[in-house]
Symmetry: C2
DNA sequence: CAAATAGTGTCTCTAAGACAATATCAC
DNA sequence: GTGATATTGTCTTAGAGACACTATTTG
């Protein structure tokens, strides 16, 4: 009779074929857009980090940052490590998006992707340091449902414009999955991953689960409101937003200064 | 300059070390418990399928069914296949629970688990066929929060009683993760996986996302209500449940028969 | 008729959306 | 003062929970 110790010493991992496992990162940030009027608050745009692929496959196409899982780390640690490597920043939080494992999704072979959304707060990003370092750029994100029911994902950076088109495949357990009609030039199945992540982000923004992570520690309520509006692509009446959020924040005794209008109290997450 | 075709023909998958990937299945069913009174409707209990391990490691311990992912299938297909192999039944739906990849979680080596909850409707299970076939058994589930804030997971099948104890580690994005204080004899990190799945199940039962999958195509509203009550471990007033569910069901013109009291209309999912 | 579930109506309370009104700063 | 945002208050409406009541079957 074999003991467990004996069994383990003789166990061969290469008995079965194994896939390569990656973590792919949907790194998201909310950027403020300058307004022409010095009095007006800045607007907000959702931004997504893409990397231009330097090698095959999908050479010169834009792709999500990510990389292979290595022994001794969890898949979440892998996602954090990859985010840090590509953005030079510790994300405020990472959110699991799903496992993408359709055969043929990667021409190199059997590679399955664990997708994570990485929430980055604008103030923590060293815009310069990471921009010239490599072909990584923050793209503006537009993600809308068309009249026909399909979803249009539009990513722009300067003159570069990636326009993907997707159909809703299934809506289960609060997660939406997609079929890609047109990848818009994005590498692999990354259009599908991005759309899934954005849908999930919108769902989680409803209950204030992630909106704090886009902002620094202290923030105004209207900045927080703009984050939720930007993510969910809706507009909210300030009075109602304040009432709903009141249970999730605590006020500090600090105020904004020199904003050209009445200063706002700064709040902290409760 | 190398073309993509050339690159791919020379690409070696074994350049990096790779993990083994499994799908582990939290197969759940709602079993009706007989009542002593012929007039009373049957009660409900949540049941979970466990397999007694025949070989090392964790020989003779109870574990979740599951198995290694094979080339040419998605991880969801793998979960469906494994469920079918262990329960002899096509699950009504599978719900992703999470990826469990902590180093050391499996003594055999680098093995990461994709956990899925499989919802099985009672009428579809061939209780006998699968029971004597192997050491797979349906356990009654009790999952409660104690006064101290910890969670107690109690699984019983006849005289077998597995009693696990867990602490809440984190609650993010509507998902709860756990630390295992006492595995109760369950193999690997399966106590942690089961607790995560049950939490997620409760969350999804709120919005009626999964409760239909536990029942046959046609059902009474009170049966549906008992499913939600069983999963969420709460009790609901029938009048209020009917009002909330009314938008998600359509009535048929059939009724229950010979139940010892007023017959109920059968409904179908909308 | 009794026991049990099926099914309806209504009251209250809370929370969300709409909107009006006031407060306060930089210029 | 003007223009902008900050902040508060209130009206209305939708939905959830509680509860009382009626309906229908089997034995």
């Amino acid at each position: 009779m074999q003991s467990e110790k004996e069994f383990l010493s003789e166990y061969r991992m290469d008995k079965y074929e194994r896939p390569s496992v990656t973590a792919d990162i949907v790194a998201l940030m909310i950027r403020s857009t300058e307004s022409e009027n010095y009095r007006q608050n800045s607007g907000n745009k959702l931004a997504l980090l893409l990397v231009k692929r330097g090698g095959h496959p999908f050479k010169d196409h834009w792709a999500l940052p990510g990389g292979f899982m290595t022994p001794g780390e969890t898949i979440e640690e892998c996602a954090l490590r990859e985010t840090k490597e590509e953005t030079n920043v510790q994300p405020a939080s990472i959110m699991p998006v799903g496992v993408f494992s359709k055969p043929g999704r990667d021409p190199r072979g059997w590679i399955i992707s664990n997708a994570y959304a990485s929430i980055i707060s604008e103030d923590s990003v060293d815009q310069k340091g990471q921009d010239d370092a490599q072909d990584a750029q923050w793209f503006d994100v537009e993600f809308d449902q068309t009249e026909s029911g399909d979803y249009s994902l539009c990513l722009t950076y300067g003159d570069v414009r990636l326009n993907a088109l997707l159909t809703e495949k299934e809506e289960k357990f609060g997660r939406t999955s997609f079929n890609v009609k047109d990848s818009g030039g994005l590498a692999f199945d990354h259009a599908e991953i991005i759309a899934s992540a954005l849908c999930m982000l919108r769902n989680n923004a409803k209950n204030f689960d992630i909106i704090f992570d886009f902002l620094p520690e202290k923030f105004t309520l209207s900045a927080l409101q703009r984050v939720q509006e930007t993510i969910m692509n809706i507009s909210i009446l300030p009075a109602n937003f304040r009432r709903k959020i009141s249970g999730y924040v605590v006020e500090t005794d600090e105020y904004t200064q020199g904003v050209g209008h009445r200063p706002a109290k700064l709040y902290r997450r409760k």
